[in-house]
């Protein structure tokens, strides 16, 4: 009989998972890694309640374990399929767990309006066209964001930047060692207060390191 699992996160093998109200989270050993998963026959339908519920589960696991790689919403997989993915991408998942161990994600959003992207210039060749498209898609980093990044550069261990959209000018995700979270927050706040930029700064976290999960499909 096939067993389907709803996977919340990848964790280190042998770790003890927390009890989360309304869920029966179990650890599924997959060789070098394990999955924090729940036996289910269907993925939850997409809704705010389901998203908040899953976030609560992942955050609870994150508070309990040292290393967690969160899984995207909707990951209902058969046990065999999960084992196959873990065997094919085990090294990548182990490296990702090592990378986030003892760390949390902090996210800084600059609120304003997303900068208009310049249209791609006419190109002489396909390569030129793709290069110009890539350049126009690269997020423009405003001076305030640069100042924030510089102020925490010695604290963070990894960074990812998402381009702005609608009322968000830019999103910066940082991977921060748990012992430095307070220092990180105070440095960002200090830069934001001192800046003359018209943008507002929103700081979120600490949260599970969603933005530092590997792309398993990159090598496919």
């Amino acid at each position: 009989m096939t067993r389907t699992l709803y996977v919340y996160a990848i964790v280190e093998p042998g770790v003890r998972l927390p009890r989360v109200a309304g869920h029966r989270i179990e650890r599924v050993e997959l060789g070098g890694v394990a999955a924090a998963a729940e036996r289910r026959t269907k993925a939850p339908p997409l809704s705010e309640k389901a998203l908040r519920d899953q976030y609560r589960v992942v955050a609870s696991v994150h508070q309990r374990v040292n290393a967690i790689v969160p899984v995207r919403f909707g990951a209902l997989v058969e046990r065999d399929e999960l084992e196959r993915i873990a065997s094919l991408r085990g090294r990548m998942l182990v490296a990702a767990l090592r990378n986030v161990k003892g760390k949390s994600q902090m996210t800084v959003r600059l609120l304003g309006s997303a900068p208009a992207r310049p249209p791609a210039m006419p190109a002489a060749s396909g390569t030129d066209y793709l290069l110009s498209r890539a350049e126009s898609n690269r997020p423009a980093v405003p001076p305030l964001a640069d100042a924030i990044r510089r102020s925490v550069a010695a604290i963070v261990s990894a960074e990812s930047i998402d381009p702005g959209r609608e009322s968000i000018e830019l999103t910066i995700n940082h991977l921060v060692p748990n012992g430095r979270l307070a220092r990180y927050r105070s440095r960002v706040e200090a830069v934001a207060f001192e800046s003359s930029s018209p943008a507002s700064v929103m700081i979120s976290g600490p949260m599970p390191p969603f933005a530092f999960a590997p792309d398993l499909w990159d090598e496919a």
Binding site: R64, V71, A75, I203, A211, A213
Partner: protein, 95 residues
């Protein structure tokens, strides 16, 4: 293991306060005693914002599986399961 409280704050670009350091309010102090300017300058909640939840769970995190339907002119042509694609690609590599 100690619990790490999740905090979210928004710092609008109002005139900067004299010092970036915030005085820590006394424990149990009523909210009305917090200066109005400070109340405006910081919004904090104890729960993750919906923006964080959506961004994290729908745009980030490991993609374990996904279904893709290639369609042309509103006609579904090919159904692909990404995990099946991954397995197939790795088998091709092995050959």
């Amino acid at each position: 293991m100690t619990r790490r409280p999740v905090r979210h704050s928004t710092i609008p670009r109002t005139p900067p306060p004299p010092s970036p350091r915030r005085p820590s309010p006394p424990r149990g102090a009523p909210k009305a005693r917090v200066p109005a300017r400070r109340q405006k300058a910081r919004i904090e909640t104890s729960d993750a914002s919906l923006l964080d939840v959506i961004d994290s769970l729908l745009n980030k995190g490991v993609v374990l599986n996904a279904d893709v339907i290639l369609a042309l002119a509103n006609v579904d042509l090919v159904y692909l399961r990404l995990s099946a694609l991954l397995v197939a690609a790795d088998r091709l590599k092995e050959q």
